[in-house]
Amino acid sequence: MARKISMRQALNEALDQEMARDPTVFVMGEDIVGGMGGDGEKDAWGGVLGVTKGLYSKYGDRLLDTPLSESAYIGAAVGAAACGMRPVAELMFIDFMGVCFDEIFNQAAKFKYMFGGKAETPVVIRTMIGGGFRAAAQHSQVLTPLFTHIPGLKVVVPSNAYDAKGLLIQSIRDNDPVIFCEHKNLYGLEMDVPQESYAIPFGEANVVREGKHVTIVTYGMMVHRAMDAAAQLAKDKVECEVIDLRTLSPIDWDTVLESVENTGRLVCVDEAHPRCSIASDVSAKVSQEAFKALKAGIQMVTSPHTPVPFSPSLEDIYLPSADKIAGAVRKTMAN
């Protein structure tokens, strides 16, 4: 375990080990190889953020550069999965998923249910989410709630390199369609990651910090902001329990409810917009199942109900910050 690697390297290693283990795994997407069909270096790009770099030299044509038509290649990936392959499709930004909603919502998610449980669709769609990258409204969204809403899809959001490797391996081995969301701002983050292959089961939240006063439930980049807030609050003797959901569908209600039963206070943090979000979903579940445990009203910290602004200073205000999270915690403590 002595080795520190970035989330980018961890994802690359997960793809590498699964491609080596299982010949039905293949990878497709825009510029994932880069340079195909031209005269220059074949493995030029490795995707816009370099996650697949180096795999072409090992696995050749099992990495496919696709045309700029998300609906076409996501449809192809879903079809290949239905026919026994395990495709991993890279769809650059989650914002672009709109053009292939039918392939994902109506086809991939429904096959198992439409064909009496006999059809399996082991497709993984890797995609980038999140703000803070100065990439404006069409490249900065966190549309995780949209996909969590659809039965039949699994939605995974790692917050660190260790989880990224284990969850991607589990996603590839899983027999259902998985929307695998990578936060743009976490690719460079390093931590100890075992060289060996391992899978993290879905539906198991990670309690990243234990505390007895307030439960903070979150995922993705917001885990780090919540941890900053918790460190800030610890100086004032407010002990926060921080839960990283890791997978939004399935979701680990047991860990959330158990924690709120201990703390009696809940702050839900979500980088997505507030309406119909993971934050509102968790709030609803807790008020339904653990109402008697609550000592104060549930607080939500989310982005506003507006598109992500392009202006850097506005984007900074737009995203939930550690200060905003700490403020929400203090509000629940005041009751």
Binding site: Y198, P201, E204
Partner: protein, 371 residues
């Protein structure tokens, strides 16, 4: 010359990954007389809490470290000295104290902190410490790894060459266990001894590791100088199968934590990090299969399949049996099955007695090594 009588108390380094520790509490006051082996203060790391013991006798002259404060390893946190050392000398010692830099050959300089041996039983991870004439090999139990000796390996290495290893299926060793039986694992240990050129060693085994050590003595008696069996398997049929089943089956922190609490007399010692580290191990490809195979091979039908008590009696190899009085995995009543062996039952400790009462256990093993 007076410097010789001033003994620094520093933040210890327990295990290769520890870089800092929290001074949880002082167990003694300024001016208290201290004997070698007395517990002076408590330290918490992200792995476990433990007590720092005096290496020599003296008077606790200065408590420098503050409680509830984190210090890097090797930081001076206290001073032990004779009564007649003037305060001015203590001040001078504290003022001029320099945290020793990593010596040449220590981990930073020497590259990988863990080593790997290519044995007939596959690739095994191990560590080697110390350089004494005597050789000690520490063998962990079912589901454990070489970090189970976190509080023992360094102390024993003061006077001996100490090896720890990850058995096949465990830690960072190969996850393939070709022969998932006590005899098969003993062969793996012998093959490890061949590879790293250990001719003969004092074997110290914990739990299943104890049964393996006895089996090594049965298969190759000339290679075993002595046997120290800690809460050892192989001395009777009983085993807490609920623990074994729970350990093998648990896939989440919520399930695993109560299982691990059975290992200690003080359940509070099971830290988040300990549960996390074990979950990370259990998730590795091949571990589930390895543990299930070992469970079937070693504890079939909920009984221990290899009873080796007679090996001890007939071998003539000097043996010491140590047990935690509150062991909830293997009953301490098995301790007396080893006729001819010296038996020590330690109060206030459970199955992981070598962690919970490290000082006592280290002291007993050292006597065994010198005898």
């Amino acid at each position: 010359m007076s410097e010789k009588r001033i003994i620094p108390i520093v933040m210890p380094k327990w295990g290769l990954s520890m870089s800092e520790g929290k001074l949880a509490s002082w167990l003694m006051k300024d001016g208290d007389k201290v004997k070698a082996g007395d517990q002076i203060l408590e330290v918490e790391t992200d792995k476990i809490a433990g007590a720092v013991e005096a290496s020599e006798g003296g008077v606790l002259r200065r408590r420098i470290g503050q409680e509830d404060t984190v210090y890097p390893i090797k930081t001076l946190i206290g001073v032990l000295a004779d009564e007649d050392v003037p305060d001015a000398d203590i001040d001078a010692f504290v003022g001029s104290y320099v945290v020793p830099q990593a010596e040449e050959g220590e981990e930073e300089a020497a590259g990988p902190r863990y080593e790997f041996a290519e044995t007939a039983a596959g690739r095994l991870r191990y560590t080697k410490r110390g350089s004494g004439d005597k050789t000690v090999l520490l063998i962990h139990g079912f589901g454990g790894d070489l970090d189970n000796w976190l509080f023992n390996a360094d102390a024993l290495a003061e006077g001996a060459t100490v090896y720890t290893l990850d058995l096949p299926g465990h830690g960072q060793s190969t996850k393939a266990v070709s022969e998932p039986t006590v005899a098969g694992l003993a062969k793996a240990v012998l093959s490890f001894m061949d590879t790293v050129k250990i001719d003969k060693a004092h074997l110290v085994g914990h739990s299943l590791g104890g049964a393996i050590a006895m089996e090594v003595a049965r298969q190759a008696k000339p290679r075993v100088t002595s046997l120290t069996l800690i809460c050892s398997a192989g001395l009777g049929p009983d085993i807490n199968m609920e623990y074994i089943d729970g350990f093998v089956a648990s896939a989440s922190r919520r399930d695993l934590k109560p299982v691990l609490e059975n290992l200690f007399a003080d359940a509070g010692l099971v830290s988040r990090q300990m549960v996390d580290d074990l979950l990370k191990y259990k998730r590795l490809d091949g571990v589930g299969e390895a543990l299930s195979a070992l469970k079937a091979g070693v504890f079939a039908g909920g009984r221990q399949s290899a009873i080796l008590a007679d090996v001890l009696a007939s071998s003539g190899v000097p043996a010491l049996v140590i047990w935690g009085a509150e062991d909830k995995i293997l009953p301490s009543t098995h301790a007396t099955a080893a006729s001819g062996a010296k038996v020590e039952i330690i109060e206030g400790a459970g199955h992981m007695v070598q962690m919970e009462q490290a000082g006592r256990v280290n002291g007993l093993i050292k006597v065994m090594l010198s005898g």
